[in-house]
C-alpha cells in the first residue's frame, strides 16, 4: 500500500510524467507557454482541479454506473471548474482576468479525464488526491520548462521582467534579436519533443526497442 502512495505522487513527476511519457495535455502546452506567468497559473490551476476532481470521483466511484461514467466525470470536472472560476471572480478579480480563457481550457484537458478514468475510478480518495497532485505538478513542470525557453528566447524577459538588456538589441545599436520562431505555437511542440528526448536519454527503460 505504501508503495502505491509513493508512486501515486512521485511517479507522474518522472517515469510516468503525463506530458513527457503519456503525451497528454499537449494542446494546452501549446496555448499557454509563450510566457512564464500564464504557464505557472495554468499549471497551478490544473493541479488543484485534478486533485479535487480525483477525490470527488474516488469518493463516489462505487456508485457510478459504468455506462455513464464518462458523463459523470465530465459533470464533476465542469462543476468544479465553474465553482473555482466563480470564487476567483468574487475574491481575486485580477487573477480571474489573468486566467480568462485558461480556466475554460482546463475542462478539456485530457490529463483530467485520463486520471479520473485510469486512477480515481479504482483507488481510494487519499491515493487519488496524491495522484492528482503528482500529475498536476508533472504537467506544470514541463509547462514551466517550455515557457522559460520560449519567453527568454522569444521576448528576452522572464515573468514579464526584462532579462536581456534593451541596449543589446539591433534597434538600439546592439547585435541581438529576439527569436520570433519561439513565439509560434509549433515551437512549443518542438520544445516538448526536446524535453521528451532529454528525459528518455536519462531513463533508458522508457526508450522504445
Amino acid at each position: 500500500m505504501a508503495e502505491i502512495k509513493e508512486n501515486a505522487f512521485l511517479g507522474p513527476l518522472n517515469k510516468n510524467n503525463p506530458v513527457a511519457v503519456q503525451v497528454l495535455g499537449i494542446c494546452s502546452a501549446l496555448a499557454v507557454t509563450a510566457e512564464l506567468k500564464p504557464a505557472l497559473i495554468m499549471g497551478l490551476s490544473v493541479t488543484i482541479i485534478v486533485a479535487l476532481s480525483n477525490v470527488v470521483i474516488s469518493l463516489i466511484r462505487k456508485t457510478i454506473p459504468t455506462s455513464v461514467r464518462i458523463i459523470v466525470q465530465l459533470v464533476v470536472v465542469a462543476a468544479l471548474v465553474t465553482v473555482v472560476s466563480e470564487v476567483l471572480k468574487a475574491f481575486v478579480y485580477d487573477v480571474s482576468v489573468q486566467l480568462s480563457v485558461y480556466i475554460g481550457l482546463i475542462i478539456t484537458n485530457c490529463i483530467l479525464m485520463g486520471r479520473l478514468e485510469a486512477f480515481a475510478m479504482q483507488n481510494k480518495p487519499w491515493e487519488s488526491f496524491l495522484d492528482g497532485l503528482g500529475n498536476g505538478c508533472g504537467y506544470a513542470m514541463v509547462l514551466i520548462i517550455v515557457a522559460i525557453f520560449r519567453e527568454l528566447l522569444g521576448s528576452g524577459s522572464l515573468m514579464g521582467y526584462r532579462v536581456i538588456p534593451e541596449s543589446w538589441y539591433v534597434d538600439n545599436g546592439g547585435c541581438y534579436m529576439n527569436n520570433g520562431m519561439m513565439m509560434m505555437p509549433s515551437m512549443a511542440l518542438i520544445l516538448v519533443a526536446c524535453v521528451i528526448w532529454v528525459h528518455r536519454s536519462f531513463n533508458k527503460d522508457l526508450q522504445d526497442k
Binding site: E35, T63, P65, I71, V72, E86, Y93, V101, G180
Partner: protein
C-alpha cells in the same frame, strides 16, 4: 445493488445533475453582488488608466490602487450619452448613473479633470484575433490630440497580441492626432518601417498582426460614431486649432 439497471442509471444522473445545478446556483447567487462590485471597480480603473501619463509612476499607482472609487469620483466630472449625429441625448451622473449603459445607437462620453484641464474619454470596442478587444481613449480638450489610451482584451495570445495592454504599446498613442485638416482620419497601426498615408500612425506588435489590425479597425469604427460630436464641438469652440 445493481448499478447497471436502466432505472438506476436514470435516477443516478437526475440526482447528480440536480445536486450540481443546486451547487452552481447557490455559488452564483452568493457571489453575484461581490462579482458585480469587482466588475464595476475594474471598469472604473480602466477608465482612469486611460488618463494616466507614463511620466509619473505614482499617478499610475493611484489609479491601480484599491481607492479607485475615490479617485474616480474626484477625477471624472461628467458622463453623457450622444447619438451618431453628435447630439447629447442623456446627461448622467458619472458616479450615481455608472450602471447606465448606452443603448443601440447611443455612445458614451466621459469628461475628466486632470491638472486643471478637461479631457474626454471615449470607450471603444472591437475584435482581436480570438475574442473581443476594448479601449478607453482619452482626448485632450481640443478633441483631437490623444492624451492616453487603455487597452483590454478577452483572450489574445499571451506574449503576442496580448501585448497591446503594455505601456510600451499604449504610450505610442499619446500626442497623436485623430483628425487631419478637420477630417476624421483615425490612427493607423503599421508594421515597423511602413508609413500610413495622411494619418498618424503607431508601430504594430510584431507577431501580433491580427490583433494590431483589430486595434486599427476598432479606432476607425468607433471614432466614426463620435465623428459628428467631435466636429460639432470643435466648431463651437470657434475653430481653435
Amino acid at each position: 445493488m445493481n448499478t447497471q439497471k436502466n432505472s438506476y442509471v436514470i435516477i443516478y444522473m437526475v440526482v447528480i445533475v440536480v445536486i450540481v445545478s443546486l451547487l452552481l446556483s447557490i455559488t452564483s447567487g452568493v457571489l453575484h453582488t461581490r462579482q458585480e462590485d469587482n466588475k464595476r471597480l475594474d471598469t472604473k480603473k480602466q477608465i482612469l488608466m486611460s488618463l494616466s501619463t507614463f511620466e509619473n509612476d505614482a499617478e499610475v499607482k493611484i489609479y491601480e490602487d484599491e481607492n479607485a472609487d475615490k479617485v474616480y469620483a474626484e477625477t471624472i466630472t461628467g458622463y453623457f450619452l450622444i447619438d451618431e449625429f453628435g447630439k447629447v441625448k442623456k446627461e448622467l451622473d458619472p458616479v450615481k448613473d455608472f450602471d447606465v449603459k448606452p443603448e443601440e445607437g447611443e455612445y458614451a462620453v466621459y469628461t475628466a479633470e486632470v491638472g486643471g484641464e478637461t479631457k474626454y474619454v471615449l470607450p471603444m470596442t472591437g475584435a482581436g484575433l480570438w475574442g473581443g478587444i476594448r479601449a478607453y481613449l482619452a482626448l485632450n480638450s481640443d478633441l483631437n490630440t490623444v492624451y492616453g489610451v487603455y487597452f483590454g482584451h478577452d483572450s489574445e495570445t499571451p506574449g503576442l497580441g496580448a501585448n497591446i495592454v503594455t505601456p510600451r504599446f499604449r504610450q505610442q498613442f499619446t500626442g497623436k492626432e485623430i483628425m487631419k485638416e478637420g477630417v476624421m482620419r483615425s490612427i493607423a497601426v503599421m508594421k515597423k518601417g511602413d508609413t500610413a498615408d495622411g494619418q498618424d500612425q503607431v508601430d504594430a506588435i510584431s507577431g501580433g498582426t491580427i490583433t494590431s489590425k483589430g486595434v486599427e479597425s476598432m479606432f476607425a469604427n468607433s471614432l466614426h460614431n463620435y465623428e459628428q460630436y467631435i466636429i460639432n464641438n470643435r466648431e463651437n469652440k470657434g475653430g481653435n486649432e
